[in-house]
């Protein structure tokens, strides 16, 4: 079993353990009741979303500095996972918000700025498909990857800038110790899952590029 495979299994095991602890072992929250159990997934997935978009930003800078396609492939792999995590974050938030706030959706600054990440990074992925030349594609994508990241700190700071419906960030420090530990486990588990999927997606992207550069007639 290679290291990447081990990483995948470790992520799955930790997600399973975190789910059991969050769903069965921990008692219901005194204020929010049972529905608080959703936060052990919602918050780590939201963290993965931000991490993924930060990786896109970082890889975009590296590409623009070094012009190596490897950085572009690492960026697109993270962007794809970031979009999936963003959609999941919104769905989980909605499922938590309906019983807690009594509404499915609100044009709250945190929710709205998070929702904007989906079209922004989907646009990043769509623009890539419009350029045939790998270097041009990587250049366009890197510039968009840099500009798009402006939205991420806005999402994070939105709950501090505009005191609205969404509460300030939940973190292991802001919760009672046992709840905090399960939250921390969620952060570790979903970060490992991201790392596993990201590296595997990168490996696929590298093989696809190899094929693209070698041309169909050689296949």
């Amino acid at each position: 079993m290679n290291r990447l495979t081990m990483l995948g299994w470790l992520a799955i095991a930790l997600i399973a353990v975190g789910s059991v602890l969050g769903l069965v072992v921990l008692p219901a929250d005194a204020l929010q009741g049972e529905v608080q159990r959703l936060l052990y997934v919602h918050v780590p997935v939201a963290w993965v979303m931000m991490l993924a978009f930060f990786v896109v930003f970082l890889m975009s800078i590296l590409y623009l500095v070094q012009r190596r396609l490897k950085w572009d492939l690492l960026a697109v792999s993270a962007a794809e996972l970031g979009v999936v995590a963003a959609v999941l974050t919104l769905i989980l938030g909605t499922l938590w918000g309906r019983p807690t706030w009594g509404i499915w959706w609100a044009w709250d600054p945190r929710i709205t700025t998070t929702a904007l990440l989906v079209p922004i990074y989907t646009g990043y992925l769509v623009v890539r498909s419009m350029a045939e030349d790998p270097d041009r594609r990587a250049r366009w994508a890197a510039v968009i990857g840099l500009i798009a990241f402006v939205q991420v700190p806005i999402v994070y700071l939105s709950v501090f800038w505009w005191r609205s419906l969404h509460q300030p960030p939940s973190s292991p420090q802001s919760m009672w110790s046992a709840y905090g530990l399960v939250m921390l486990l969620g952060f570790v588990a979903y970060t490992l899952a991201f790392a596993y999927l990201w590296l595997r997606r990168y490996r696929l992207a590298a093989t696809e590029l190899e094929l693209e550069l070698s041309g169909p007639e050689e296949g």
Binding site: L4, L95, Y196, G219
Partner: protein, 50 residues
């Protein structure tokens, strides 16, 4: 209070389904690329969970 479990179940369920969906999609693409590059089966061995 009990209907909260519907929301909790849906949340956890959707998350697991999304992870499985992404993993399966990745594996399908790996197999297609392996076949196209004449390295049949390598994608399947790229492996790991999924």
């Amino acid at each position: 209070m009990n209907d909260h479990w519907l929301f909790i179940g849906a949340g956890y369920g959707i998350t697991w389904v999304a992870l499985c969906w992404y993993l399966l999609r990745l594996r399908r693409r790996e197999r297609a690329v392996a076949a196209a590059s004449g390295r049949g089966g390598e994608g399947a061995r790229a492996g790991g969970p999924g």
